[in-house]
């Protein structure tokens, strides 16, 4: 029979293997990223999605998010391009510690209200990649436009690839 200490040792060893796999996956993916690399996405914010966001982040909806004509608006916090989801590791075989990551900084500008149910087109581009204190970072700039090409919002996001630190 294996003692508690034995199980702890096995768990720790398994964890070390998982973390090594996660760091390897992050490093492999990081090496493929290039400044200037771009991506486009389109999205229609549905009322259900917006209400879920409001519930999740504890904001009153629709509250102030109504146009003068009474149309539902999208809270500004929802309008951005997700760096890790767009340019990160989406391989579901990679350990969870390698997927998504941590937001470290954001800079956003808003020019026009975004309406629920309207199509929004996102253009994003990698503007920097770097390694700092064991984390691999991705910086992305983006712009969100309506179907007429009018800019609704733009921003810059700094995000880590995964949330495991290289030793």
């Amino acid at each position: 029979m294996i003692s508690h200490q034995g199980w702890d040792g096995i768990r720790e060893a398994m964890n070390r293997v998982k973390l090594k796999e996660a760091i390897d996956a992050i490093e492999r993916h990081f090496a493929t990223l290039r400044v200037g690399q771009s991506a486009q996405q389109e999205h229609i914010f549905t009322e259900e999605e917006v209400r879920r966001y409001a519930e999740r982040y504890d904001i009153l909806y629709p509250g102030s998010y109504l146009s003068a004509q009474g149309e539902l608006l999208v809270p500004p916090g929802m309008v951005f391009m997700r760096p890790a989801a767009t340019f990160g590791i989406i391989d579901t075989e990679a350990p969870p510690q390698a997927r998504l990551g941590i937001y470290t900084q954001a800079h956003r500008w808003y020019f026009r209200p975004v309406y629920v149910g309207h199509r929004v087109l996102f253009d994003g581009e990698i503007i920097d990649t770097y390694e700092r204190r064991g984390f691999f970072y991705l910086a992305v700039k983006w712009a969100a436009k309506d179907e007429d090409g009018e800019v609704l919002a733009k921003g810059e996001e700094w995000h880590t690839l995964g949330f495991v630190r290289k030793p």
């Binding site: 998982k18 916090g77 998504l100 954001a106 808003y110 209200p113 949330f163 630190r165």
Partner: protein, 130 residues
């Protein structure tokens, strides 16, 4: 030179709605206590989108609809917000930028129940009407 609507607001301190943060049920790996600890973090923490949602909510309350067409916000996340922590968004009007533009410049931050700053940054927008 700043008009009355701007100069009257310089130095204003704003406190947004105080909330008790809660971990969403489908928060994802980095917010899972066990996975976060396995990666050497102190534990699962509330997604930083929460800070952003609350800060922009406070700014919309202050600036009104102008925030949706003129707002600018810059945030650096500096410390984790933990489940059941108190979350307090704050701002202070520090100037008009560029001078004479009617655009207010604010220092913004949020803190927990211990007074520890969780995120810091700045925001700007045309001064509220009236």
């Amino acid at each position: 030179m700043a008009d009355g609507n701007v100069s009257n607001r310089l130095g204003h301190e704003i406190t947004g709605a105080v909330k008790i943060a809660h971990m969403p049920p489908d928060a994802g790996a980095v917010h899972d206590d066990r996975l976060a600890k396995s990666a050497g973090l102190e534990g699962g923490y509330i997604v930083n989108e929460y800070h952003f949602a609350q800060l922009t909510e406070m700014l919309l309350e202050y600036f009104g609809p102008r925030w949706l067409t003129n707002g600018e916000i810059e945030v650096k996340y500096i410390a984790p917000l933990l489940d059941k922590d108190t979350f307090i968004p704050k701002a202070r009007v520090i100037g008009e930028e560029p001078p004479g533009s009617g655009r207010l410049n604010l220092e913004i931050w949020c803190e927990n129940q211990h007074g520890q700053k969780l995120a810091v940054g700045r925001a700007s927008c045309l001064a509220p009407e009236g």
